[in-house]
């Protein structure tokens, strides 16, 4: 089966400024892809490119096996939930949800049936007559989800949808989005700067920085085997401890030595089975530290630079 979303060698420039460099990602039907990275890493721009809201400067993009590189947003068979929810302020909740169908000329009875179904699914029936201005943050969030759900798209796009909610509501909505994903078996692309959100929701994570992909993998892969220092430092809470160290070799193999200001260097007993430069960064996850044991149970070592 063709991947539901396939991005090949995507570039995005504003004038001479490169925002996205050589992006290659693909996801299968039912995947929950999370784009995560610090602000300004290009993750939202990438999402806008997928939606067709930003033209791309180079590369190819296909959704559901169809080339969508130059197709307008309305013909991409997508739905999107925005950070500010972007509800139409002068329309009632019901009109907000049915606006897309109305524009597309869907007949009245289908509109009503779908509205009823979505409203029931999200438990927003009592809100249908209200204006967005009369809703709380959480309610707006639900309406925005409803507007996306009612489209029944091939691909859902989420642009930091939970960042405007308070902490408690955020956890609730996270669970709900997760459940929604499982119930609908829908494909989703989700942008966030919150790595906990990324870890808990994703079936596949893309870590980005400076417009480039740093690593693609499952939560476990990213967590346990970060591809570089940036990923190691950015993902995981609390962050991994990163300690400068020396790699030394003897006849038995390579081992790691942590220098100390005063006293003998700490020599780690585990051998490393690959070649390392002499200057390395030794990463230790707090979870892997066992108070009973003198040495870490598990560790990741990254080559420096």
């Amino acid at each position: 089966m063709a991947p539901i979303l396939e991005i090949q060698n995507l570039y995005k420039n504003y004038g001479s400024l490169e925002i996205l460099k050589d992006i290659n990602v693909s996801i299968d039907s039912g995947d929950f892809l999370v784009l995560v990275g610090p602000s300004g890493c290009g993750k939202s721009t990438l999402l806008n490119c997928i939606a067709g809201l930003e033209p791309i400067s180079g590369g190819k993009l296909s959704i559901g096996g169809q080339d969508m590189t130059n197709v307008s947003p309305k013909d991409r068979n997508i739905a999107m939930v925005f950070q500010s929810y972007a509800l139409y302020p002068t329309m009632s909740v019901a009109k907000n949800i049915t606006f897309g169908m109305k524009v597309r000329g869907v007949d009245q009875s289908t509109q009503e049936a779908k509205l009823a179904q979505v409203a029931q699914q999200l438990q927003i029936e009592p809100l249908l007559g209200r204006r967005p201005g009369q809703l709380s943050g959480g309610q707006r969030q639900r309406v925005a989800m409803g507007r996306a759900l009612v489209r029944d798209p091939k691909l859902f796009l989420f642009d930091e949808p939970l960042s405007n909610l308070d902490a408690k509501l955020r956890v609730e909505m996270r669970t709900e989005i997760k459940a929604l994903h499982q119930n609908l078996a829908a494909s989703m692309v989700y942008v966030t700067h919150d790595q906990i959100e990324a870890m808990t929701l994703a079936t596949k994570i893309v870590v980005m920085k400076g417009g480039e992909i740093q690593q693609i993998g499952t939560s476990a892969e990213i967590y346990n085997r970060p591809a570089n220092l940036f990923v190691a430092d950015f993902m995981g809470s609390p962050a991994m401890n990163l300690i400068p160290a020396k790699a030394r070799s003897n006849d038995d193999g390579t081992y790691i030595e942590i220098l100390r200001k005063d006293g003998e260097p700490i020599v780690l007993t585990d051998q490393v089975n690959r070649d390392l430069p002499s200057d390395v960064i030794h990463g230790v996850k707090h979870k892997t530290l066992d108070r009973r044991a003198a040495s870490p149970l598990h560790r990741v070592t990254c080559s420096s630079r």
Binding site: L53, A86, F99
Partner: protein, 297 residues
């Protein structure tokens, strides 16, 4: 809002406090009198007979109220050779202002919508160029405009004046709408695009319903500008197409016959009436337009 009141230092007596308060009101009242005086003089003079004006006091109330001057001003006063009062010119102004306001507001709304919500490369430069157009002294375009209106075949016509007012009103109407629409998150447009709506659908269904306040501000601003215009009116009109401001000036400065100050005043009030009415009815929006037109919004 700061709750700040000029008050004497602590320890001063109630009497001093009261005195200060009274002088404050006296000062404010003094300015009120100054500002109202010309309007008062205009109204009273227009209700007096010429005889009473010659013998009486500027600020005295009319001994005998007569509406003769109003009648003359409306339909009999001489603007040069013709003596039809300001009536035909009043309607000229209406014929110029109504389409002029409607067209420039509509175009400004679309322009503002494009500049604020459909940003493309160069849009800001275009906006800056248009904005600068608001500030030029119009003397610099009078000569070529007179020729171009001639070439277009609309020199000296009402259409010609509408055209001029639309062209030179665009900068401000675009500015008003742009500054209003720029406060609306671009995500709204994006959401509507994903929903399948196009350029006009988004404008019509989402932005226009949001725009009532700024439409009112723009309409009032443009109406005041066009109604009160004199420079374009006197430069680009001919005998039958002059706006009311030009007619008023002609009546006041006509050298034929006796000077009828009461008629001048009545004509001035008639010419001022529409904009004064707008100000009284929708002063809040008028002020908002003034401040938005001078400080950036």
């Amino acid at each position: 809002m700061a709750d700040l009141v000029i008050s004497p230092a602590r320890g001063q007596s109630q009497a001093v406090r009261l005195l200060l308060r009274w002088s404050l009101y006296a000062a404010l009242g003094f300015f009120v009198v100054i500002y109202l005086m010309p309007l008062f003089v205009m109204v009273t003079t227009s209700l007096k007979s010429l005889e009473e004006i010659r013998t009486g006091d500027l600020v005295a109330l009319p001994r005998e109220v007569t509406f003769d001057a109003w009648l003359t001003a409306w339909s009999g006063a001489c603007t040069g050779i013709k003596c039809e009062g300001v009536q035909p010119y009043f309607w000229n102004s209406v014929l110029i202002a109504v389409p002029g306001v409607a067209i420039s507001t509509l175009i400004g709304a679309i322009n503002g919508y494009v500049v604020a919500q459909w940003r493309f490369r160069g849009a800001n430069i275009i906006f800056a160029l248009m904005l600068f157009g608001c500030f030029i002294p119009f003397q610099v375009v009078l000569l070529p405009m007179a020729r171009v209106l001639g070439i277009m075949g609309i020199a000296g016509t009402i259409q010609g004046l509408i055209f001029v007012h639309v062209v030179y009103g665009l900068g401000f109407t675009t500015l008003f709408f742009r500054n209003y629409y720029v406060t609306i998150p671009v995500e709204l447009t994006k959401a509507a695009k994903v929903d399948g709506a196009g350029f006009f659908r988004i404008f019509w269904s989402i932005f226009l319903p949001l725009s009532l306040p700024i439409i009112v501000v723009t309409v009032i601003w443009q109406f005041t500008q066009i109604w009160n215009d004199f420079l374009f009116g006197v430069s680009f009109s001919q005998a039958g197409t002059q706006p009311v401001t030009v007619a008023l000036n002609n009546i006041v400065n006509s050298t034929t016959g006796v000077k009828e100050y009461n008629v001048d005043m009545a004509a001035a009030i008639i010419a001022a009436f529409p904009t004064l009415l707008v100000y009284v009815v929708a002063g809040k929006y008028f002020i908002r337009g003034l401040t938005a037109g001078s400080v950036k919004g």
